[in-house]
Symmetry: C2
Subunit: 238 residues, 2 copies
DNA sequence: TGTATTTTTATTGTCGACATGATTTGGCGT
DNA sequence: ACGCCAAATCATGTCGACAATAAAAATACA
């Protein structure tokens, strides 16, 4: 493995910013984009060589990631990228749906004009991504769109759990990336639009209904992908 | 500060078990019991001297605690025990109530006989603590009682958030520890009993109702303590 | 040849020391 | 006396090396 990222090139900037935090951000990003495959082992010395820093900040980043459930640490042995937990998907869908509803409700209740502006901007960005058929960008912006709604809801407990769920969902969507067609993203675009309008006019019940329907759409989509080729379950390490 | 705990005495056992994990457990316990005051600074070298180990495992423990929000780290400066965030209490109550309801509902739906046995045992322990007027034990067992219900519900996302909320609530209850009288714990005891029975007979709607009422009780109690001098609950929506 | 046991190996866990950066202290000029 | 700049301070951030541990490999034995 001599994959040379842009990390060790500019050591100067890395020193300035932060040794440990940079590793955390990079790894997090790579895990969520499946650049690092779920279940693949993570070697500390390899990472320290790759980033050109010692193991101490690497370990700090790994401990943080373990706290968020993005990596799993086997005591005294090794640590690996958190596998996708297919048996627990029903629980995941349940929690995701509830958080969709709660955060959207709260956003409708508590949003400020600034919140609406931020959400609108992300909605526009999503529209552009759909237009450009940029799937990676769609997944990323979609996540930020809902995270912004959660923040507008002004409850950090919900927001943090929701963001964690959205990140996990991002990995799932990436898995079924290739199956994407043009129709679904456009449907989501319309649902997002309805959602923004409900939030803007502070219609809590409508926001709730739309959020629940939206969550149902996504859950059904992922479920459909999974049941379609169930051989994926066999391939992926659990 | 020459507070000498039982930590550095038996270095042998500490080496065997786990350097870092022990520090984490100890600090976590001390934070939740207000042995470490909210907002008080944490000095790494002091801790390393106290536990008789180097700073590296201390830092690892602090990073973990920071991930759970139990300590706050100021970059390049110092880290302190997470202050109790009074302005955010309404959000806390909202999330706590929802998690009470959701976990109890799920427990009623999914509980196994083993789950019921575990819950019953904790309920009995709570009854004994009430009888003995052991407030510290009551707070601890109460937390474990609800955590057991959450685990019976079989959704780790809810369970983890709920346990975090229960821990934060434990600090709040500790704060108003002195105000405890005999009546409220006995009321809780009865509510717990109703809750266990609803879970046992898998009556989801009843479980939901009881959980909501129970949450309301606790929220109102804490609010009453707090608003004795400041009226924070003006805009709480229930 | 198969199995139990020892040795090796690879990786994590911990250590003590140094580097860095922000705050505080002390000196200087006005 | 007041405010500004420099130097000391002090906790954190990082480093390279060592120790502990669990899996794998090698060896001994039946």
């Amino acid at each position: 493995m001599t994959v040379t990222g842009p990390e060790q090139a500019d050591q100067t900037k890395r020193k300035r910013g932060k040794g440990a935090g940079a590793v955390y951000d990079t790894l997090r990003h790579e895990i969520l984009n499946l650049t690092l495959a779920p279940g693949s082992p993570i070697d500390e010395v390899r990472l320290s060589e790759r980033f050109g820093i010692s193991r101490t900040p690497i370990r700090e980043a790994l401990v943080k990631l373990a706290g968020e459930g993005l990596v799993v640490t086997l005591a005294n042995r090794f640590t690996l990228v958190a596998p996708i937990d297919f048996p627990n998907l029903p629980q995941f869908f349940d929690a995701l749906t509830l958080m969709y509803r709660v955060t959207t409700r709260l956003a409708a209740a508590n949003r400020t004009p600034d919140d609406v502006a931020v959400i609108r901007r992300l909605q526009d960005a999503y529209a552009r991504a759909v237009e450009a058929r940029d799937v990676a960008e769609m997944i990323e912006v979609n996540r930020n769109f809902h995270a912004a709604i959660a923040r507008a809801g002004n409850n950090r407990y919900y927001a943090e759990l929701f963001e964690r769920l959205l990140d996990e969902g991002r990995r799932l969507l990436r898995l079924y990336y290739s199956s994407f067609n043009d129709d679904l993203p456009r449907a989501y675009l319309q649902e997002h639009e309805d959602m923004v309008q409900a939030i803007e006019r502070q219609d809590i019940e409508a926001a709730d209904r739309i959020a629940e329907a939206h969550a149902g759409q996504i859950v059904r989509q992922i479920q459909a992908y999974i049941t379609r080729d169930s051989r994926l379950n066999a391939d992926i390490r659990l």
